[in-house]
Symmetry: C4
């Protein structure tokens, strides 16, 4: 077995190993999010401590949004890699690029947590989310085109559905960026709601479809 | 196998995957706790270094309490997921919310480590612990009601016992918050003791019960 | 299977789960060590950048020592848990306390990296290492006394050898603390050498023994 | 089974365990890289926020380079440990030293992200990369010489190829260091490109060879 060339070994190994690395990176990024919330100086606060803490609400909101976004893409990646059977070089490098964007979420979360009312920052955050969504979609497109890396008999319906689920969020984020010119807070709320919808909708969608069949 | 819809796959996969993600988040949160203890400036301390270090005791105490709380809930979650057989969307999202609160413990630990004598901060910390306890309890209630996600034959006794074990700590934390108006240190000591009791008591309880049967 | 009481489940599960949690905590503590080395301000350094970096040598030394100490105890814990067959409450809590001390190494490493010439700090670091060594030893004593948690037929020779290997380092660290009154650097060098010896010596010891048998 | 001496147990266990520890350290180092990018103070930036963010480009570049370097060596280590069948003490310690250098990448990344135009810093970063490459190569030389730890029938061709793949990057980094006297940016770009080439080239090399056989 060790006689196979390292390259062949890589092809077979990658899907499970890259998933383990991804799990680690997702868990760490989720936990590092909290480091962005700095403890304020409360000396001389004269009983106003809780009010000073509540003034941190943009940071708490940013923590919640960041955590949810990471949770949803962690889930999305697992679904993708459940359907992907083989791996090759381009898939590996797309995934590395995907993880590079994921691991950068704590930076963007800190940025928007500190400057939630700065419209250009809200745009920057939206672009980060769009980039993640597009790479997520690109991975699926690459793997599923001509059933390159997925099972040969995978139904075209599932392939189309997965593409749809991957491309919708970037579209909504684009709309949220446009909205930021009116209200930055509205944009941030959309950033927060999309991940939730992204998971809840397919849930009802599948339940509905199954009742029809 | 790959023909099953992604949604069905998720239901079967989730309990093991969410446990792996949880293990990562717990381990990282436990280790990040230490970052809250900043090294003091000792230049010009003229042989008083150890005394200056000992003045950090509220931070060391907060480290110990935070670590123990995380250890106990890590254990508690493993017991829950040992008894939970299936997963569905609401369970997944309750667990994500649970992990979001767990990953925030380093923030609260830093807060109370710096302001152990500030009564509102002690209240804030207690509320964080109560929130964790309530979500922990909600997960079990959701999974066990009508044996929704647990085994069909799971004895009502275990279901009741698990609920009890999950609901007692928030109750005690509530009492500790009340106590903080008299002594903040007493409250913090209760925060520290409850996790220990939470584990030791069922130990004797089970041993006692087994001798009777 | 789910009918067994949670408590019984815990006994069987713990050794593998606690090992997974330990692996995570060791890996994170090792990596967090690097955060103690702060990048110096090099603006206006006029070509003296490398010299300024080399002046960070106590921090690099502290990084190396911390990493080696963690590496050795990671190894030591794996040997212990290879020999330990069962788990019970006290073992679990001893291990949690052990991990609490392990996760605190980045703090002590930062402390000694900044104040390597402050004798009380060298004493503090030594005490931390002694505490880790003693808890490591206590875990083994607890598990092996009357073969409480190890296999029934485990040879007394291995039990004694493991105890010896666990108790020697704290003894040497105690000597290093005494030496710190003469030279703090000498103490730190001993802190660095002991872990290496701790691994190399049994290597030759076992090789020697095997040739005799 | 527990009767085997701890030393023998270690030999059999190490390759899988050290891989798990390595996975953790790689994932954490990759994620900690983002902490080097500090959020700039944007108050009073008067609509120039995006321009101020873009001025962080050396840090983003350093993030990308560091992430890619870690990704490539993560991959390289997995190939090595796929071919390595046994472990012994020197291999273990070489690997620990390798991980010590890997976990230090966030420090060097922060350094070069802040001082990309400081030639000595570019040299320092290059030396760090060369050290990683040389230890990576030393691990393979040690394991493969006389087929000490690899399979007995491993073809000399693969052994030679792996050595070559391990020794080329340090050579190129050496050239990049020389180049830094002309342009520091050119050196950094080489640091970024090498990892990519390192993976893409063997890909074509193998494909080419296979067509010939």
């Amino acid at each position: 077995m060790s006689q196979e060339l390292p390259h062949e070994f890589l092809s077979s190994l990658r899907t499970s190993r890259i998933e383990a690395l991804s799990d680690g990176i997702f868990a760490i990024a989720m936990t590092l999010l909290i480091l962005q919330i700095e403890v304020p100086d409360l000396h001389g606060s004269q009983g106003e401590e809780l009010r000073l803490l509540l003034k941190l609400w943009p940071k708490f909101l940013s923590y919640g949004v960041g955590f949810t976004v990471l949770g949803v893409y962690w889930m999305g990646q697992h679904i993708q890699f459940h359907l992907i059977r083989k791996a090759d070089q381009p898939l590996l490098w797309l995934t590395m690029f995907f993880l590079m964007l994921i691991a950068a979420i704590p930076f963007s979360a800190k940025l928007i947590g500190g400057y939630v009312h700065f419209q250009p920052i809200v745009v920057f955050y939206g672009c980060h989310l769009i980039a993640i969504g597009l790479v997520h979609c690109a991975i699926w497109r690459y793997a599923s085109t001509n059933r390159r890396l997925v099972e040969v008999h995978l139904s075209p319906e599932i392939i189309r559905l997965q593409t749809l689920l991957a491309i919708i969020p970037p579209g909504i984020y684009l709309a949220a960026i446009a909205l930021s010119f009116l209200s930055t807070l509205a944009s941030v709320i959309i950033y927060a709601i999309v991940p939730a919808v992204y998971i809840v909708v397919p849930h009802f969608f599948f339940r509905h479809r199954r009742q029809r069949t």
